[in-house]
Symmetry: C2
Subunit: 293 residues, 2 copies
């Protein structure tokens, strides 16, 4: 199929940001539609919300309350917010943040935004189809996958599949290096804010973990990124005549990243068949009954 898989509404206004995002979302999987030049982009998004799968926002481009009307109407879409990680929420709590110096990860952030949105929608959905919807659940209706993405992704079940063409090992050499350098910048943000600004650190952790997951980053590579950065910090501190012992505390950051990533993988292993049943099923056509003990 040559049709784009995801239609993205872009509310970016900064021209260089637009250009960079366009570059990192090339390929057949995305169709970008720019609403930033319309008289009232948020209003335009509101009007045509139903024709988009994902929205791309620029931090601070519109006043904070601009998205309030969308939220009030339950018009929620998976969202990527381009801007510094500062721990604040622009649109809704399942949005994904990506700093402008890390746009190499934009495809991964788009996947992460859809994945987070789906999970969020599922976790706030009424517990069983037969149950009577409680009034308390009504304000969360927007999470009930109301957009057209519901119909399309609904069939895939709980899990949004990863795209192997985005896996680190499947990228051309130069893109692989770009992505790793970008991930290093994310991890650097994470370390710098880890003890100073936990909310910002959390956004950076999520950004790192999402890209690590969707790029199928080998775990040793994540550990390596941590060690190299700590090594750099340590050298710099010693050059400046400072102590560097406290850097050991940053092992907590790595534990945090590992725990998040591990949990993300854990939840992505599909519900399994019981081993016995699976073996029985697989063996039926060729094992004679006598080979069973």
């Amino acid at each position: 199929m040559s049709q784009p898989a995801l239609t993205i509404a872009s509310l970016l206004t900064d021209p260089s940001l637009k250009q960079a995002c366009h570059r990192w979302l090339r390929g057949g999987r995305y169709r970008l539609e720019y609403l930033g030049a319309t008289p009232d982009p948020v209003r335009e998004l509101e009007r045509r919300c139903d024709s988009f799968d994902v929205v791309l926002l620029q931090q601070g481009a519109f006043p904070g309350e601009a998205y309030g009307e969308l939220v009030a109407q339950g018009l929620l879409l998976p969202a990527v917010v381009i801007g510094e990680v500062n721990g604040r929420t622009d649109y809704h709590e399942a949005e994904v943040h990506l700093p402008p110096d890390q746009l190499e990860q934009l495809s991964y952030s788009v996947d992460a935004a859809v994945s987070r949105f789906l999970r969020r929608g599922l976790s706030s959905a009424p517990p069983a189809p037969a149950s009577v919807p409680s009034p308390a659940l009504a304000p969360q209706a927007g999470w009930g996958l109301p957009s057209r993405i519901k119909d399309r992704l609904g069939y895939l079940g709980v899990f949004y599949k990863r795209d192997p063409s985005l896996f680190l090992r499947n990228l051309p050499e130069q893109e692989r290096e770009d992505l790793l350098a970008s991930l290093e910048r994310t991890y650097r943000d994470l370390l710098l804010s880890y003890f100073r600004d936990p909310a910002a650190a959390n956004q950076a952790i999520e950004s790192f973990v999402h890209t690590a997951f969707f790029s199928d980053l080998p775990i040793t590579k994540a550990v390596e990124i941590h060690m190299n950065l700590i090594d750099d910090f340590s050298k710099q501190l010693r050059l400046e005549g400072h102590k560097s012992d406290f850097l050991q505390d940053y092992r907590l950051a790595l534990i945090d990243v590992m725990a998040h990533l591990c949990e993300m993988y854990r939840r992505s292993v599909p519900p399994d068949l019981p081993v016995g049943a699976a073996i029985a099923e697989a063996s039926t056509p060729m094992d004679s009954a006598s080979s069973w003990g």
Copy 2:
């Protein structure tokens, strides 16, 4: 199917160990056959290797060279060795070690032994079906899943599925507590040997990670086990008037565990369909062409 899924050859000789293993392998999934009472148990295993899926060994029950003949003939089976974690290998490198005070994890160790064996077999198999087998690969033939387990598990592909009935959350209350207490003992062994005996620590790490994986242990629970044990150590050291700062170094052990567990989960996520293709496939029956942007 009421037939047992796995037939286990037990070479245990210690009566209380036999009894305990029998207790922890109850249920319909296993059929235990005791060879320990035959005149020459290893010889008996050699003779009937083909009728077993897994072998249960007792560390030190037979001289170290007893299994050499099996290995020489390429008679390899997934193996669980009951005994202290000491970093030594009894039978072959894919064997799984479990100390006798942690037998609550025996079912998980059996699954781990099969899983490790399958992976080991696959990683040493000739790279492509069409390639000419090189003589260098010949001594590894035993890893080529030669036993009947090959025919039965081969159909499941690379991954040995987890059994949800073994998941922590699906266990009865008392068994859940037993398993957690057992995991704590494994983690304690791991910490105690971490800096002193890396080979033993590795076996303990693998034992912990296998059970965590096959019991679908929430990641926060693994972190909690670490923190509780470090807390206990710290209190005890302070009571005895010692410093406890060095305990921070044990964060490296937790990073090690997380990295292992994360990598195990990562490799268990099945090869995915490209997102675009999956969406297109799922949407074909119900989306009209016009809804594609």
